[in-house]
């Protein structure tokens, strides 16, 4: 659990974060989002003490941050950043097993762990283990960055625009991989992004910030259907109900051919309805029921 209690941070005159009160539950993904300069990155960087708050307290595992040794604290918080920050003089496996090395694991165990993680993030260990970072593409480097953050199996994961610097296709595939990994590992994740679709796709809870102040903290569906104020309403856009469609996953959808591992959503169902000649399309819901979905049925599902 990560708890913020009346946390404020200033840079000189400028207020970066003001009176932040928020709790990130264990095993959930909390996405910090907002316009540039809203304080989302500052909030993230206070969690592993890259920055210190001016006021208020942050607790991790029921212990205040100021009671941790920073280096020691960071060993149990994985960190992924947009520029990845792989160490160019180390091979991929050495980069991944960096935190285990700091924790004093022996070499065979580190190598084994690195290969395990490469597999997990979808890179063939035999091919990638001994490469240098300069030999990787942007997407591959980002996967290695995620593997490195997970190496010592830290309970917490901080991600600062982790998928921001890659092309849209690669980003989609990275997001999907991340979701699969997270559904298995159940880490407590705080992720910063400026991409609303990414937030809706990945988040259990969205924290929407503006000028250092938390505007709304809730599930993607809550934020989309019940914006707390005008700013939130404007931020999620007038097409917010379309975005809602992607938050409802289906078990099955007639005529849907998705890439392996991904599920169709109501958005795909709507697309089928618009494309076909029929008034309905057959879908399988996550609760096991099947139904013939019409436009009216779609509205009910979204508003539910």
């Amino acid at each position: 659990m990560i708890g913020f209690h009346e946390v404020s941070k200033r840079y000189g005159e400028k207020v970066a974060v003001s009176g932040l009160d928020m709790t990130v539950e264990n095993g959930s993904v909390c996405v910090l989002i907002g316009p540039s300069g809203c304080g989302k990155s500052t909030t993230l960087r206070m969690i592993n003490r890259l920055l210190e708050p001016d006021e208020g307290m942050i607790e991790v595992d029921d212990q205040y941050l100021r009671d941790y040794d920073p280096a020691h604290l960071r060993l149990k918080i994985g960190y992924v950043i947009q520029s990845v920050g792989l160490l160019p003089h180390m091979r991929v496996w050495q980069n991944i097993s960096l935190v285990p090395r700091l924790l004093g694991w022996d070499k065979p165990r580190r190598r084994e762990r690195a290969e395990e993680l490469l597999e997990m993030v979808g890179l063939e260990p035999g091919e990638y283990r001994d490469k240098y970072p300069a030999q990787l593409s942007g997407g591959e480097a980002q996967r290695v960055g995620v593997a490195r953050a997970l190496a010592a199996d830290p309970p917490y994961l901080l991600m600062d625009e982790p998928f921001g610097a890659v092309d849209p296709l690669t980003r989609a595939s990275l997001q999907q991989s991340f979701r699969e990994i997270q559904s298995r590992l159940k880490k407590t994740v705080v992720l910063v992004t400026h991409d609303l679709d990414e937030a809706i796709y990945l988040a259990d809870r969205i924290a929407l910030m503006k000028d250092g102040v938390l505007q709304q903290f809730g599930s993607p569906a809550e934020v989309l259907t019940h914006p707390a104020n005008d700013f939130v309403r404007e931020f999620v856009g007038s097409d917010r109900m379309l975005r809602m469609l992607t938050t409802v996953e289906l078990e099955a959808l007639d005529g849907w051919s998705g890439t392996d591992g991904s599920r169709p959503t109501l958005r795909d169902a709507l697309s089928q309805l618009l494309a076909g000649e029929n008034q309905t399309v057959r879908v399988g819901l996550r609760d096991g029921n099947e139904q013939e979905l019409s436009f009216d049925g779609l509205r009910e599902l979204v508003q539910a």
Binding site: L73, I77, I81, G85, L86, P88, R91, L102, A134
Partner: protein, 399 residues
């Protein structure tokens, strides 16, 4: 204009090689050999026209060169064997002419017990032209072509060495000087390496931490850089002179220092001065190397849970290392050269031969000192270049 020879594997740039033909023609009108009846006597020089040398090799050399020159001008491609023939001849013909001239002088009975010969201006210019041609060949060739060239070069060097140990070229003036002082030569060579090696070692021991300090504490940065670069502006001879008085005083004041061999002249001031000179490149490159480590990499180390110390040794230093080695390389090559001057204040080293030679107007003795210094500087440069490549093998691309 770039003309290529497409060789066995990769193309070789032909033009710079062929241009070396121009100085090579110097062999026609400059002297090939200089003969002196004894060490101090006035020398007598001979050109190819004054000796009954067979002109065939010279003609061959010039013809090959001209053919290649024409090829380079009008044809896009030529064969590697032709280039190899030309390169070998430009390297070896001046030397062969020198050897033949020596043989002829020996036959005329001019090479008495005390007489000595040295290459004339034409041979030297020919050798310099050959050096330029071979440098270009080795630089621009790849793969199997390069293997051929290296093999040919080694063959030529072997050929020259084989001639040096036999008559009449055992009368080569530098060899004569060497034979008289073989023991001294070894001793001064070792002293030269010891002095420059220790100076560079000390400069690393002081300069790398100083560079780190300058990096960590920007307040000291200017002071440290100013101090080390000011030292560089002091002429080396003046530096040795400046050290004599304080060190002599120290030695006077402290018997303990005196018993350690500290005095106003000799190895101590030389070592101090050489170390001071070697400092700037080491300090500056340490600072630069550390400064160019990308922020993202540094911060990712921090966020990974590295302590400051771990970050320094596991991230910053390894990434800075190639640049640091580059600085040590500069310092080492400089030190090999600067150590020469140490001969003036009784510290020994190969400079001793140079200053002795200058004093006695014996050019041969000067050359005996200069050649190993040049070879040593080149060797040191190459060794550090290799180390630099090894240290930077991870690539500099940051992701």
């Amino acid at each position: 204009m770039k003309r290529w020879i497409t060789g066995l594997t990769e193309p070789v740039d032909i033009l710079p090689v062929v241009v070396s033909l121009v100085p090579a023609t110097g062999i026609f009108f400059l002297h090939v050999i200089q003969l002196r009846p004894n060490r101090v006597a006035e020398g007598q020089s001979f050109g190819i026209w004054e000796l009954s040398l067979p002109l065939l090799p010279v003609v061959l050399l010039v013809m090959t060169g001209l053919v290649l020159l024409v090829a380079a001008r009008f044809v896009q491609q030529a064969e590697i064997p032709a280039l190899l023939l030309w390169a070998v001849s430009i390297g070896i013909v001046p030397w062969i002419l020198f050897h033949m001239a020596a043989v002829e002088l020996a036959e005329r009975g001019e090479l008495s017990e005390l007489a000595r010969v040295s290459p004339g201006g034409g041979v030297w210019i020919g050798l310099i032209a050959a050096l330029a041609a071979w440098h270009e060949l080795l630089r621009s060739s790849r793969g199997r072509a390069k293997t051929f060239f290296v093999a040919a070069l080694l063959g030529m060097v072997g050929f020259v060495i084989a001639q040096l140990v036999a008559a009449p070229l055992d009368r080569l003036s530098y060899l004569v000087e060497y034979n008289v002082r073989a023991e001294r030569f070894t001793q001064e060579l070792m002293q030269h390496m010891r002095l420059s090696g220790s100076a560079v070692g000390l400069a690393c021991l002081i300069g790398v931490p100083a560079g780190m300090a300058a990096y960590r504490h920007p307040r000291f940065r200017d002071a440290i850089l100013d101090a080390t670069s000011t030292i560089q502006t002091v002429p080396s001879l003046a530096m040795f002179g400046l050290l004599i008085a304080p060190l002599a005083a120290l030695s006077q004041a402290s018997p303990a220092l005196r018993s350690m061999g500290v005095s106003g002249v000799g190895a101590t001031p030389a070592l101090i001065a050489l170390t001071l000179y070697a400092l700037l490149p080491v300090v500056r490159n340490t600072l630069t190397g550390l400064s160019v480590v990308p922020r993202s990499v540094r911060e990712s180390g921090q966020a990974m849970g590295m302590t400051r110390r771990q970050r320094f040794w596991m991230v910053e230093m390894p990434l800075a290392l190639p640049v640091v080695i580059r600085g040590v390389r500069t310092a080492a090559v400089q030190a090999v050269g600067n150590t020469t001057v140490a001969g003036l204040i009784g510290a020994g080293g190969l400079g001793w031969f140079i200053f002795q030679g200058l004093g006695q107007a014996a050019t041969d003795l000067v050359v005996l000192g200069v050649i190993p210094i040049v070879l040593m500087a080149i060797a040191v440069d190459r060794v550090f270049q290799l180390l630099q490549q090894l240290a930077g093998r991870g690539g500099s691309g940051v992701k």
